[in-house]
Amino acid sequence: MKQHDFIQLRQQQWTEFAEAVKDPNKLHEYDIDLPHAFRQLTHDLAVAKSRLYSPALISRLNDLLLQGQQCLYKPSNRVWAPFWQFIKYDFPAQLLLIRPYVIWAHILFYGLALITFTATMIEPDFVRNVMPNAQVTQLEQMYDPASRIDENTGNYRNERDSDSDFLMFGFYIKNNISIAFQCFVGGFLLGFGTLYYLLFNAIFFGAVSAHIVNVGFSSTFFSFVITHGSFELTAIVLSAAAGGVIGMHIIRPGQLSRSAALKRAGKITFPIIFGAFLMLVVAAFIEAFWSSSTLLPNAVKYTVGAACWIWVLLYVFPRTPRKHEKVT
């Protein structure tokens, strides 16, 4: 059969197919058996290729097939149901998968924070190695209980206006996410970047909290950080764990090629990063609207904060399935 006759014979079906696959969302409006039509089209392309029909024809069939394939095998694009599924199952499952990294990231972060905390308690000037004097003074002012008393009237100041709460919300999100992200992306420098950012933040955190205790503002400080800290610090530690996974896959790809290992690491760490991102949004929300409130008594803040910590830790360290439950 010559090309011209072939086109004459099949043209009608191609046009119908092209019409139907133009918009994947309107596919149901057409009366077409898509899988069948698609297979027919692949057959046409094979025929056209083997009979050396013209490039224009082949490329038209090629385009039709590409559109058809995108229609037929389109990945699902729902948002909310997968979202819930993610929080309830996928994220904890993935955390379980990289548990050694999660544990190590926790040990490194809190271990070093504890060491610098102790060091600063013993030697208060240590904090000046971590940050410049001006920043130390600013920090002291921030948590000085006296700063909450108005100089003129001697009364407690009113709460921060809610509009500046919003400002802080935006600020916290941007700031925390960039820290978490640095921890993660550092994984690409063979994991050294991750280690650097994680340890740097640990030192900073340890030194700052010890310094606040040294100058005697501990009640304003800890009541402020305890609640959102559960989400924020854990999210940062988890990003670092994900960075560690990336770094380790580059250093030791096992039986995979490095690029395949990197791809697999991406698959493993994506849920972690997305989960950490959600936790940071929650943390920023708490930080801006709850932690900063001066109306709540500290006892309430400590109770809620402790509850948050317990919940977050239970969530991040889910129970390991017993042997017989394991799905292979």
Partner: protein, 227 residues
């Protein structure tokens, strides 16, 4: 066989190869700049009214900037398969298997812009893209995605021809294909270029210029079975 284009073949479960053309550094940079301009416009449009809203406005502002910075490409890629910049240059984002990208892939490839950007001005991403067979930057490797040309649906070209006297010639398969391709593309070529191409065959056609062109078209027509 040495290839003169960078098309890749993608085998579908039906056992057929589909051809895709990954987009290179130049056109992707142009698309990026286009998107960058749109993003700047969005941010400016947000700044102006929010500047009057005090601290509340500043907070919203920061959130808007954050969303535009990280989610502008994601939203467009998930809903339309391409950002406006990519659309204007006929590009689209797909998974390695040619399927449209969804939320996970798009988020991953766009979050990794931060890695591609290192040390500055997308140097790492650019180098990675140039070294890669499928023009992938780091984010594309992680997300398992690539950026391809989305070709405008091609019209099968019907070329006009005038019947010439039959010449007894035998062509091998490749040559037949080239002649048909020549006739089908002739609409997009200037008359001079058509003659130039047709003149290549003048030793066997014994014709020159316009005569060779119409003779070739006539041969093509008989090859595809029109005449």
């Amino acid at each position: 066989m040495l290839k003169i284009d960078n098309q890749i073949n993608l085998e579908t479960p039906e056992g057929i190869d589909i051809q895709l053309t990954p987009a290179g550094l130049g056109v992707r940079t142009l698309a990026f700049v286009y998107d960058l301009l749109i993003r700047i416009v969005i941010i400016l449009a947000a700044i102006i009214p929010l500047a009057f809203a005090g601290n509340f406005g500043m907070g919203i502002m920061l959130i808007v900037m954050f969303l535009v910075e990280w989610f502008y490409p994601v939203i467009f890629e998930v809903t339309k398969g391409q950002t406006p910049g990519k659309k204007s240059f006929g590009l689209t984002v797909v998974y390695d298997n040619g399927l449209p990208v969804n939320f996970a892939g798009s988020l991953l490839r766009n979050l990794f812009r931060a890695a591609d950007f290192l040390p500055s001005f997308y140097l790492l991403g650019g180098i990675c893209l140039l070294l890669s067979k499928r023009n992938k930057r780091v984010g594309d490797y992680i997300g398992g995605t690539m950026v391809i040309y989305q070709e405008a649906p091609q019209r099968m070209s019907y070329f006009s021809f005038e019947k010439q006297k039959h010449i007894e010639l035998t062509f091998d398969a490749d040559m037949q294909k080239s002649i048909i391709a020549f006739a089908e593309r002739s609409k997009t070529l200037s008359a001079q270029r058509q003659q130039e191409l047709a003149n290549i065959l003048s030793p066997i056609l014994n014709l020159q210029g316009p005569d060779a062109v119409s003779q070739l078209k006539s041969i093509a027509a008989s090859l595809v079975g029109k005449a």
